[in-house]
Symmetry: C2
Subunit: 315 residues, 2 copies
């Protein structure tokens, strides 16, 4: 069988990335544009794929890794739609439906972090593992868990950024989350760091950077501990701008070992390959779209009807 | 096909429960005895099943729901053995191996909470759901997550009792966990309640009970919030002695709604059937053993060799 021709959409709150290809290093065509109103934005994406199909042949499927919150329960009337979001015009918007209807190909959809988790599992830092967590620590914090090869989705997708974590002693920063105040993201996301230190994290230097990293590692470790105890991952992969701060990972590994306090006493939790940087960088989301597209194509081959949006599960 | 004849062992730190049957309401034979040294204790269980098989016919499989921590990674050299445990004589003890070897039937094994989770899913409060969490709040706190029909196990089984949760303002109790001090179990398990209030929780009355319930509901809700955001369950089922305190569930549901703070804004999280009491009571663990046995029997039918201990996965 020749390599599939897949389309991928990373639907972000600020920009859309659309590409055609079969892997992050096999991309035939790509377009990026700012996220506007839903109608024209999706039309621009659809137009890109129409032209790609006309020029180089039909696509097998399209995968969408989208900002959320998304309705992803199979068979739900609002499947593939955004729930309430602060992004103007996008609350309730149907993302998967118009793409599937206009292009008449199988469409898979999941959240951007779940997509990135699948991308890192297929081509990145979680390759070969079936139970792992991908975390992005950027402006906010988001996490996707893959367990037994499948993305965790139950009543809703995971919302790891909003974990409750204990405060580090002496820290009086009120937190930046509009819902919870001092949740994990509210204490340790990039926006929280900016508000706490009065400057973006990537502009900190010297003692200020050291102090910020110390606190950040302690808070990230508290959340990682909760992820370890609830989902038992073989590895945790972390991407996003905050994860690129120099010197963060060794501190984080030490803080996690301290937070686990010898329980359940596995050497693997303190090993250098347990908490690792993401490998795909800004391609994690688009790569996730390709995995979702491949899964949608495979699911469609097993279905009589063929097209229409699906959740991108293998089963 | 006639009903299977299954054996179940609930291997607890204080007692063993062994039974033969096919469902919690179809039990042919049962024995309970205190947990002693591993050798004689397992011999007593094996003897019970041998007699049952001799008297009423061979067993199809045996399932073991055991106290932990257990090594459950398929193919691991120590599969089916206990890891380090404070229980004298049991560190490193092989639980599944001797049973399989002596009785020559397929043996499935998992932790007691994972077993109880499977039992509640098959016959109890999580019937019909494929993504849910079972929690026991007794002396300690333990939780098992079932996602997409499978128990969550990655590098190790889950250890939800040791979640990090923020302190309720004004609470200075140091916590009772020997590893973490003020983890979830250290703040909200039955042993913690006893130490905090100077009397076992079930003996509290009047204002003391009201105050204890208020604090307990707040702490339990913080941990449930972390479980909701990491595993997205359709329902959370809670068993154990603390869960039987009168009036706890309505308080807990209200505290969870408050802890989620409208995010992600699903009505289901505040509904009366989201956090519910366990239904099987003390039969949850033994029922879990029956599910593990049925899964081991099914797995053996798909394997050439037939017997030997397995993790009880369906796949």
């Amino acid at each position: 069988m020749s390599a599939p021709r897949l389309g991928s959409i990373e639907s972000g709150g600020t920009k859309f990335v659309c590409l055609v290809g079969s892997a992050p290093d096999r991309i035939e065509a790509e377009i990026r544009f700012p996220t506007g109103e839903p109608g024209p934005t999706l039309a621009r994406a659809i137009d890109f794929f129409r032209k790609a199909a006309a020029e180089t042949g039909p696509l097998d499927a399209i995968g969408i890794a989208s900002f959320g919150p998304l309705e992803l329960r199979p068979g739900h009337a609002k499947f593939g739609r955004l729930a309430a979001t602060p992004k103007p015009g996008w609350s309730g918007a149907d993302i998967a439906g118009p793409v599937a209807a206009a292009l008449n190909v199988p469409v898979g959809i999941d959240t951007d972090v779940n997509g990135a988790a699948l991308g890192e599992g297929r081509w990145g830092a979680a390759r070969g593992l079936d139970t792992y967590v991908y975390l992005t620590v950027g402006t906010g914090i988001g996490g996707g868990a893959v367990i037994g090869g499948e993305v965790v989705r139950g009543l809703v997708h995971t919302e790891m950024g909003h974990l409750a974590v204990p405060r580090v002693a002496g820290d009086a920063f009120p937190g930046s989350c509009p819902f919870h105040g001092d949740c994990w993201e509210g204490l340790a996301g990039g926006e929280a760091m900016h508000a706490r230190w009065g400057t973006p994290a990537e502009e900190l230097t010297g003692d200020a950077l050291r102090e910020a990293l110390r606190l950040e590692a302690a808070y990230l470790a508290a959340g990682l501990r909760n992820i370890v105890y609830t989902t038992a991952p073989q590895r945790i992969v972390i991407g996003g701008g905050v994860a690129e701060l120099p010197g963060l990972f060794p501190l984080l590994s030490a803080e996690l070992t301290s937070a686990l306090a010898g329980y359940p006493g596995l050497a693997e939790h303190s090993a250098g390959d347990f908490v690792v940087p993401a490998r795909l960088g800004r391609l994690a989301g688009p790569a996730g779209g390709l995995v979702l597209a491949a899964r949608a194509a495979a699911a469609a081959r097993r279905r009589p009807s063929g097209t229409g949006p699906s959740g991108g599960r293998d089963a």
